[in-house]
């Protein structure tokens, strides 16, 4: 019998980039197939072609042996191909069942929500996707919203489900839950295409893995026969160290102290609700938590970019709570924001001008009247050399750099200012393995230098690899602080997962009670 899906020699050329180069891929019914590759490898482009968003320059798509031409996502879903994007496409104010039937034409203009809800409940039972059809989507946790997306596809009779980086927004327990669902889907004859750059996920859940590099298929092999090391090598094209060496180190005095900090979000709702943390010199304090639990608001308040409602921020005993961002910078507080393109840099300006963002006044002549162009350029050249920024020139537009290179500019700029304390937010989001490795090494070097680092990251692996202590933020409150490496890794991850889902550490004193598999949310 022909396989469910076969891609043959799919090629897509963008100007200057061959995004996909004769990519062939076979997915069997009942299979979880992982598509692994670094950023820019061509994964999304390939999936967009399969979903009818782009058209391939060459190559063919065969569904059960039949050639297929897709013109739109509607076409794709009509053929049983469904895709879940990284950002969910649900309407928050609608109920689950409304979201599921929206856009469907069946049964004429009059929506029969009741029978839809019945069918939905049947599907949910069949696949173990517990969801209340009448619940409003805005009240559901991210993990449950993801189930709604899956149900939406199943309701449309999808046989092939494409998931683009689905675990980025989930707690470890939610991730486990998702994988269980995927296994059940496969067991019932569906095929799953899982796009990811996380090696352990591939090994955990996939049957088959295809590795893509620079638009080309490097290899396809059964996941069970692969190792993380081998996959990493295939993905990057060279040996990579998966573990960072974190030298043991004496921590210094408390440098960054946050006391009962309260901050409001953009809509005026409390987002940081009484956070107290202390970061010592030579220490990395990891702040874990699912995105959107107040991490950004906390970081912005620390840098003076968002008003503090109550509480105190001190740096080396100096009260900075009411200081301007410029004054905080002058006191050697550094900040690497999550959004390196909109906040951390000014895209249309050159690398040179970005290199002096925040320290501009040091590069002037004539009593501060004019810019000292020569000095700016020298500083930028120093940064580019020191931090290995790959660019044709320091006058190149910063916004045109790749994510990894732009992050090196931001990182380099902040580190060259020799911060006493550094707030680092999602430093490797969207970066490839090589750049991630680099950023991690630089952060550890700062730690060795004696700076106090507050590392905010939604990637638990990153937190675990770098932190000396780990705090968990949930809905603006600290659930607890663990010292890294004092328990065995698995129970530590479980503990962190439970805290990320809203259980305070104090309530989890009995470590080895089997955690509720899916903590309540919101």
């Amino acid at each position: 019998m022909a396989p469910l899906l076969e891609l043959r020699n799919i090629t897509k050329q963008f100007p200057g980039v061959l995004a996909d180069d004769r990519v062939s891929l076979t997915v069997e019914a009942g299979q979880i197939h992982a598509l692994l590759g670094e950023n820019g490898a061509g994964k999304s482009t390939l999936m967009h072609i399969l979903y009818g968003l782009y058209r391939a320059d060459a190559g063919e798509i065969l569904l059960e042996g039949q050639p297929l031409q897709l013109h739109s996502p509607a076409d794709a879903i009509a053929h049983g191909i469904g895709m879940i994007h990284q950002d969910f496409m649900l309407i928050p104010r609608f109920s689950v069942v409304e979201n599921v039937v929206i856009g469907l034409q069946e049964g004429g203009p009059q929506l029969d929500l009741r029978s839809a809800a019945v069918r939905l409940s049947d599907l949910a039972r069949q696949y173990g996707l517990a969801v209340d059809p009448e619940a409003r989507v805005e009240h559901l946790s991210v993990g449950v919203q993801q189930r709604v997306e899956i149900l939406k596809l199943l309701y449309r009779h999808a046989r092939l489900l494409i998931l683009d980086e689905p675990t980025g927004v989930l707690t470890p327990q939610e991730t486990e839950g998702l994988f269980a669902v995927l296994r059940r889907l496969a067991a019932q004859g569906h095929a799953v295409l899982l796009i990811t750059h996380k090696l352990h996920e591939v090994i955990d859940v996939a049957d088959q893995v295809t590795v893509l590099r620079d638009g080309r298929v490097i290899g396809s092999l059964p996941a069970r026969q692969s190792s993380a090391r081998q996959l990493a090598r295939m993905m990057v094209g060279r040996e990579v160290t998966l573990r960072v060496d974190k030298p043991a180190q004496q921590t210094g005095p408390p440098l960054l102290q946050i006391t009962d900090l309260r901050v409001r979000g953009d809509n005026g709702q409390p987002k940081v609700r009484g956070v107290t943390l202390t970061v010592h010199g030579g220490e990395i304090l990891g702040l874990a938590g699912v995105d959107g639990n107040g991490q950004s608001e906390l970081a912005e308040a620390l840098m003076g970019l968002r008003p503090v409602e109550a509480g105190q921020v001190t740096l080396a005993k100096k009260d900075l709570t009411r200081h301007s961002p410029a004054a905080r910078r002058a006191s050697h507080l550094g900040y690497i924001p999550a959004d390196r393109r909109q906040v951390g840099s000014i895209g249309p300006l050159s690398i040179a001008y970005n290199a002096v963002l925040g320290t501009l006044r040091r590069y002037t002549t004539w009593g501060g009247l004019f810019l000292n162009q020569g000095q700016i350029d020298r500083h930028a050249r120093h940064l580019v050399n020191e931090f290995d920024v790959r660019t044709p020139s320091i006058h190149f537009e910063a916004g045109k750099l790749s994510g990894g290179n732009l992050q090196k500019v931001v990182l380099g700029r902040e580190l060259l200012a020799r911060p006493t304390a550094l707030v680092v937010e999602q430093p490797t989001r969207g970066l490839d393995v090589g750049a991630t490795e680099y950023v991690h090494r630089q952060l550890l070097a700062e730690r060795s230098r004696g700076a106090a680092l507050l590392l905010i990251s939604a990637e638990l692996e990153e937190i675990l690899a770098l932190s000396d202590r780990i705090a968990v933020l949930y809905q603006g409150e600290i659930m607890g602080v663990l010292t890294a490496g004092t328990q065995d890794p698995n129970s530590q991850i479980e503990l962190l997962g439970l805290m990320m889902a809203g259980s305070p550490l104090a309530s989890l004193s009995n470590l080895h009670t089997p955690g509720r598999s899916d903590g309540p949310h919101g």
Binding site: D57, Q69, L305, Q342, G344, S345, L360, F370
Partner: protein, 373 residues
């Protein structure tokens, strides 16, 4: 085929020089062709009419003088626009700042009449003084809008448009009340001879205000390119969040940009009064404050580009006026051509977001993959 696949949206607009030049040139040619059609009822030779415009505007010293006189306020308004818009402060109140500048200028200049307080002041004191006064008047006028925006948010476009009406009424009040000269007309006294700007090309109307505008263009260019304050304005304009992150007090910078923009816009009023009108009366702005914004956009918000754009734009106006007088060709035709050029250049900008491919480049696909019915 369900969709045409030979146009694809780009992630980023192309900004190659070639693409920009092509689009600009195509816009101008297309506008001239369309304008040519409109001319046909009046003249069988649109090409000659265009040529006559160029000759009238630039072919003689006299014509060139007129052109430079018309270009001068446009340059100054454009410079104000550049400072404001590059800071992402989309100010449209330049009619108002021009009038405020004109009013302040006339007030100071009238003080220099015999028997008045400033009588006998030497030029090297008087001119800096009057320039400072006009700049401050317009600066405060626009700066207030900037302050409102930075303090309370809101939309500076609407607010600044409304301030134009206030300024028009204010001038109306001044010339019919406090500053009205004896006589039938609502206007002020003529300002004294000693306060007029000298002509700088003999036997033409070109006055030193043009040199002032050139100097201002140079200073604005220097300011934006070479000073920390200029950098901070531009950084604020590109990304307020990033600028704040970089320690730049963006609210203050916004107010500064508004002040400078208003001041530059007021100088347009100053040169009109000291170089052309010699008194304050109703209707001296007449849209200059808006055309100047257009000129700035045509000059890609670049000071030197705007000087060129202002001279060309003014030249078309001057040339077409002469044509109307001599050949009966309505100057509205030329105004339409001017507007079309602007419109097409700005619309052409959108084309840079698309990529065009020829159908045969995707031919292989249709050859190998047949649609499934």
């Amino acid at each position: 085929m369900a969709k045409s696949h030979w146009i694809e949206r780009r992630l980023q607009p192309t900004d190659s020089l070639l693409a920009t030049a092509t689009v600009t040139l195509a816009a101008i040619v297309l506008a001239l062709l369309l304008g040519g059609l409109l001319m046909l009822p009046f003249t069988p030779h649109p090409g000659q009419a265009y040529w006559a415009i160029v000759e009238n505007a630039f072919g003689s010293l006299r014509g060139l003088g007129f052109t430079l006189v018309k270009a001068t306020p446009l340059i100054l308004i454009a410079l104000g626009t550049i400072v404001a818009w590059r800071t992402s402060f989309f100010y449209l109140g330049f009619e108002g700042t021009l009038l405020l500048g004109a009013a302040a200028t006339v007030w100071v200049a009238l003080r220099a009449a015999p028997q008045e307080g400033l009588a006998g002041l030497p030029g090297w004191i008087f001119f800096p003084l009057v320039i400072g006064a006009a700049f401050a008047a317009g600066g405060l006028w626009a700066g207030a809008v900037g302050f409102l925006r930075s303090r309370f948010g809101g939309n500076e476009v609407l607010v600044s448009l409304m301030t134009n009406y206030v300024a028009i009424l204010l001038v109306n009040y001044l010339v019919s009340g406090p500053l009205r000269a004896p006589g039938d007309l609502p206007q002020t006294e003529r300002i004294p001879e000693t306060t007029l700007l000298p002509f700088f090309i003999p036997d033409t109307r070109a006055h030193a205000g043009f040199l002032l505008a050139l100097l201002a263009a140079l200073l604005v260019w220097l300011f934006l390119r070479r000073t920390p304050l200029g950098y901070e304005l531009i950084a604020t304009g590109f990304s307020e969040r990033a600028a704040r992150y970089g320690g730049i007090p963006t609210s203050q910078r916004l107010v500064l940009a508004a002040f400078l923009a208003g001041g530059l816009g007021a100088l347009a009023g100053l040169v009109e009064v000291l170089g052309v009108q010699f008194r304050l009366m109703d209707g001296i702005a007449q849209g200059t404050g808006f055309v100047g914004v257009v000129v700035a956009l045509l000059g890609k918000l670049n000071p030197l580009g705007s000087v060129v754009a202002a001279i060309l734009y003014a030249g078309m106006g001057v040339g077409s006026e002469v044509l109307q007088r001599r050949a009966g060709l309505p100057s509205s035709v030329i105004f339409i051509v001017q507007s079309l050029i602007v419109l097409l250049i700005l619309a052409g900008d959108l084309l840079r977001y698309y990529r065009f491919t020829w159908p045969f480049r995707t031919g292989r696909l249709t050859a190998t993959a047949r649609p499934r019915e």
